[in-house]
Amino acid sequence: MSNSTLAMLGLGGETGSAQLHRIKLSDYLKIEEKLSAEQKTALAVFLAHGASAQDQDQLDESGSIIQLIIWSSDSAAAESVAGSAVLNADLPRHILWMLANDDERVAAPVLEKSAALTEEDLLGIIQWSGNPGKMNSIARRDAVSETVVHALACHGDETVARTLLENSGAMVSADAFDVVLDRFGEIESIQAAIAGREIVSSAVAQRLLSVITNPEIGAVLAARETAPPSNAASPARFGAIGLDFAESEQTLDSGLNVLVKDGALTEPALVELLLDGGFELFVRAFARRTQSDPKDTRRRLVEETAEFLPLAWKTAAFSEDWLPIARAAMLALIELRDATGSTDPKLFRRNLYALTGAILRREGVKLTGARLDFFVRHKPK
């Protein structure tokens, strides 16, 4: 916030900014009438930026002020607040929910980027807004679950469908492909977007081949290696977790030797293995650190994750600070085990990262300091 605005609020000088972070609803109501619309917007943006440094009482005060300002703002002002609010995960959810249900321009950044919105929130907006622009923003999210993808495929227009298909973080199920093909299968840009997906089941490819008219798209489709249908039997994947199931024992052992030699049997190194989908190497490294039998460690990690991981973490003399992220990544790996049928490492890592983040949020885990830096740095490109 500019010095002139601080001065206008009677909070000029070096301590102005700090004072403003502690503003109460009652203080705001005293000066509200004197503030211009621009100053109110600046105040809301300022408070939204600083929310992460506030305790719960101050968050309630700031959140109430921001909410009052949004209720009294025009579209352009609300858009400024939305752009700032979406960057702060500590803001009360109701503020982001209000912005997400504002007009399309205001809602766009929130719908595209806010982690505060749940799957239920997104489904409600898709089903009730009837607004293709809002749906397109949702379709651009880093990770779009199968349920949300299906709803977008059913309710969105051609642009929404194309955005989804071009988003590698969107989990497009066979059902959703069918819906898109039923609704927009005749449109060439949709055909091209499907042909350009990293993973397309043979059933979808067959159906697409039957409708395409452009030989170039046909050639792309014919040339690609299609993945098997998701419900096809796949003995090679039986019991597999993560991406290193195809590695030989020898490769895994040599990977472990490198870790030991580099002195990398540490918390961040092991969590990194999990986030990279390297489950089998993680098992070996973790078993070495806890001096346990790898087979028994593997079985207990899979079957008794919630009970076994904290105990073994303690045995390994690891810092408890890293346990929540390790646990979330482990649960995500297990959940993804048979969920996608995908053999694409890039997509698997993206889904794994998104699901780990979702589990951390669901369990109310707040990463800070080194853990937060680590997690942000490991976002797959």
Partner: protein
């Protein structure tokens, strides 16, 4: 005088407040914005009866949180959970008050209030607040709204 052409054209609005002056000022404001049919009543109980008995739904409700009998939050919750027949669950609802508290704002948010006006309000700000309320459309969610705990309001006839 109609300031904004058609902002609320052909819409029916209901103003709920115990204050004659508020009903007059807010009602006049809505008419300036183009509302063709502005109803008003002094209590939430009467508002509840009006809304329940009308054939044509009301498009926008403006209710004081301290309205006697059935206060603004109770009226909003009744609407959101589907206890007012012939009304859309997500109809536009704006709360008004002279002295907002944090728990008022939090409850209004939890009930997906489309607006929250702090009185007294000059016309330009009133106009912006109504425009904001009209452009915000929440998905109905009666299950969630039924679970919202309403703030204690002095004089609430429903509180025993």
């Amino acid at each position: 005088m109609k300031i904004i052409d058609d902002a609320l054209h052909k819409l029916t609005c209901l103003v709920v407040s115990a204050s004659d002056l508020d009903r007059h000022l807010l009602g006049t404001g809505l008419e300036k914005l183009g509302a063709t049919d502005v109803l008003s009543c002094p209590s939430g109980t009467e508002a509840f009866n009006i809304l329940n008995s009308r054939r044509q739904p009301v498009d926008l409700i403006l209710a004081d949180i301290h309205a006697p009998g059935f206060h603004g939050f109770a009226l909003l919750q009744a609407l959101r959970v589907g206890n007012i027949k012939n009304m859309r669950l997500n109809a536009t609802f704006v709360l008004t008050t002279e002295s907002p508290q944090i728990d008022h704002i939090q409850a209004a948010s939890a009930l997906d209030a489309n607006g929250f006006i702090v009185k007294p309000v000059e016309f330009a700000r009133f106009q912006t607040a109504i425009a904001k309320a009209r452009r915000t459309v929440f998905p109905p969610n009666p299950g969630r709204h039924a679970n919202v705990t309403l703030p204690a309001i002095l004089g609430d006839a429903r509180v025993k």
